[in-house]
Symmetry: C3
Subunit: 336 residues, 3 copies
């Protein structure tokens, strides 16, 4: 990644330049590790090296610097800067080594790499990018500007919105996990519903969103799903909800909008989680959570403050127990 | 999904029709959301909308309806109905764009899609369906009627039974996780055993079943494994066992038949779990569990009733602790 | 797997033969299940069948045997023996059905299977093996002797060391999970850093290692990562560290060398875990852990002995609580 001179960087991030606009930083580094030749983005609080080349921040740092770029929001500035350096997708147009079935509808401005597969009846929108080894099933729909990375699976009839990022190995529209017990074994309930991802959804590597039994599994606009997350059949996730890695939502769970889950959270089937709920990593949610609550804990999840208080006392259990036994013994001694 | 008229639906599910057999429902919906034009499957207890087009159920609902289809088992009826609407696989025969190595044995009635790969010595049975981007390794065996979805990996020598469903990204027969510590690092123990999946096994998206060090890793007939499940080397899973998403079975664990695990369950290496054990989501099983037990909890899993009692008191720890301190102080005051 | 006669096995594993060197065992089995025709590797302690064909061990077993092969380290002997029987990779050279972009640098002694994809600017080292359906992104580097199994994803600019094993479905260099909240939704922070895997790294099936925001995500030399593990952006894992299945390391976590994690461990973002730390399966690590500590528990992880003591008392909470109430009542009765 070759950076331009400080004055150009200021223009890219929309910041105000102080100092040497001609200085060209050699790379980007975290604030406490950046050197005199490097650029860093400083949050205004974290430790920062004594001498840094260029600092992007909301305020002047205690460090020496060659150039300072003052911005209102340092994370937004970082996003703009990195956007500038993200490499383009490595192919354009439809590769002759792609396999597009007859009856597929591919927009003339879509990009399909070698060894990509698009089934009949599928629609691929303008500017969409289908990487090698991505699979688009029959009658699936890939919205404008959406990117399917390698090994992305989009099953039959699945609808992926516009500007979605579907990371490698993400599986959208595999069969939900539904069976009827019989005396000879579990009878599969075929899953013939579909999956709908809203615009701007991000699905992480090796995640899975199951198709509904009938009707739809939904992930709302702007929601961001991390790697290795399981979203069961008939789940509904609202808008702008963030779910970190290795979390699992069982069949029929309903998650609100602007919800934030840490990693390894589990939600039981048919549970409702309200808007703006936050769940700490490892939470096990077995009952409904009203909007705005902050929860934690696996036994099961409760109000986070309450959980933390009990968790602290959990490690005092030996002390509690021995104190209790001492009291019990002393009272027995006092008995006549 | 276009539905036929009510009398045809009654025939498909094997139910008794009451009401208007000519009525054609416009879609399927959950009982509390179904409209006057839709069909629903009612369990006899759940809330149901005031007016529904067609009801399939064990009993007459409190709703208005145009047609009622009485059945003995509403889930079985649902399975039959949906089976009727599941779309066929999107290709037939062996695609010229598939790569079948010389020395592979493909049944003339098997189906192999474009960009599928079958190694030499592999056997693909009658009616098996190998999707684009599925990989069948050397000497692997794919039973009659089994479906390998895209990105399914079947390693060398692995045996997959008949009528199995291997969902996208499932990995069968990657190397088990076995190493010998040496002063220079971990020496890999090559894993040269195999994996055997019985007939009717279902393996979820992005799950993994490791090959045995030597001998076999086994998943028994009819067992149903959800997405993102890890099954370590030399594990043996019995028949008709159900394991929900994000669960992990460490090397050498032995799981009985008709066992049911919720999501995110962990089982330690070489532990034995008896037949018909049920483990709640999030259970951490670190010791053997006798047949028929119901367990829960991560610290570690114990009898579920016992766990629930302790979990309730966990959240009373602050009250317990302050009560204890109060008693201790009052006793100290009483001391001379 | 066809085994040679006992004297040849003794030579392969570097052991001392006692008994019938001409005897040819029919297979390998675990010590308690091995039969009179089979070979077993015995650890010197575990139960062993009464009559075994060939025993490899550090000592003479209580069993009858046809041949005994005495070795210093039975696990090392097992590794050598199995190494001997691991089948070769099923293709050699560069397949005409592979897709190697112009401007890729493939060593003449590298092996690339049909339906493998190598982007421009990528380097594939001597003796590297790229299986069908593996994806090597632009400017990525695959070291000498490294194996990419099917559905391995190596993103642009990622560097994979020498002699690494990248198992099926492993994703290296997908975008890290970084967003800025805005009133309209989460603004993605493009991730333009890279991933560096040291020599001898093992990455399990369907695992994911995210690229850094800028700079690098690193997994050090000789580290062994199991299946379905998530390693977030900017994480640094030291050398010879072992992480079992379904564990997740959040962004910026720093894990030392010779660390051992059980399955389903979670580490919070930016936490530092010292060298040689051991964490039991299911541990939730939310704060720094000094070198050499052994931890356990999800609420959060603490010293293992301490955790186990509290966990035992957790299941005594009902007893503790009723004892406490009894004392409280008896004291109240005593009050005037």
């Amino acid at each position: 990644m070759r950076l331009p001179k400080a004055s150009d960087i200021a223009r890219i991030v929309g910041g105000r330049l102080v100092g040497d606009g001609e200085f060209v930083p050699k790379g980007i580094a975290e604030s406490d590790r950046a050197g005199a030749e490097e650029l860093t983005v400083w949050d205004g609080r974290s430790p920062i090296a004594e001498e840094v080349g260029v600092v992007i921040g909301v305020d002047a740092p205690p460090s020496k610097y060659r150039a300072l770029i003052l911005v209102d929001d340092y994370r937004m500035a970082l996003a703009k800067l990195l956007e500038h350096f993200a490499p383009p997708h490595p192919f354009r147009g439809v590769s002759p080594a792609a396999f597009v079935e007859e009856g597929a509808h591919v927009h003339p401005e879509a990009h399909i790499g070698p060894f990509a597969y698009v089934s009949r009846g599928a629609k691929v929108g303008r500017g969409a990018v289908i990487y090698p080894f991505a699979y688009v099933g029959p009658d699936a729909e890939i919205g404008e500007g959406t990117v399917l990375y390698p090994f992305a699976y989009v099953g039959w009839g699945v609808k992926v919105g516009k500007r979605c990022l579907i990371h490698p190995g993400a599986v959208i529209g595999a069969e939900g996990f539904g069976f009827v017990p019989t005396s000879e074994g579990w009878l599969r309930i075929p899953q013939v519903g579909r999956v709908v991802l809203g615009d701007g959804v991000r699905l992480g590597a090796n995640s899975a969103v199951d198709r509904a039994t009938f009707s739809e599994t939904v992930v709302g606009e702007g929601s961001k799903i991390d790697n290795l997350v399981q979203i069961g059949h008939n789940v509904r996730v609202g808008e702008h909800t963030v779910i970190a890695a290795l979390s699992g939502l069982a069949g029929g769970a309903r998650i609100g909008s602007w919800v934030v889950f840490g990693g390894q959270v589990g939600v039981a089937d048919h549970v409702e989680v309200g808007d703006r709920v936050m769940a700490a990593a490892g939470s096990g949610i077995s009952g409904n959570i009203p909007p705005g609550k902050v929860v934690a804990g696996k036994i099961p999840a409760r109000d986070r403050t309450k959980f933390n208080r009990s968790a602290a006392l959990f490690y005092k259990l030996p002390e509690i127990y021995s104190k209790l036994l001492r009291i019990a013994r002393s009272l027995e001694r006092d008995e006549p």
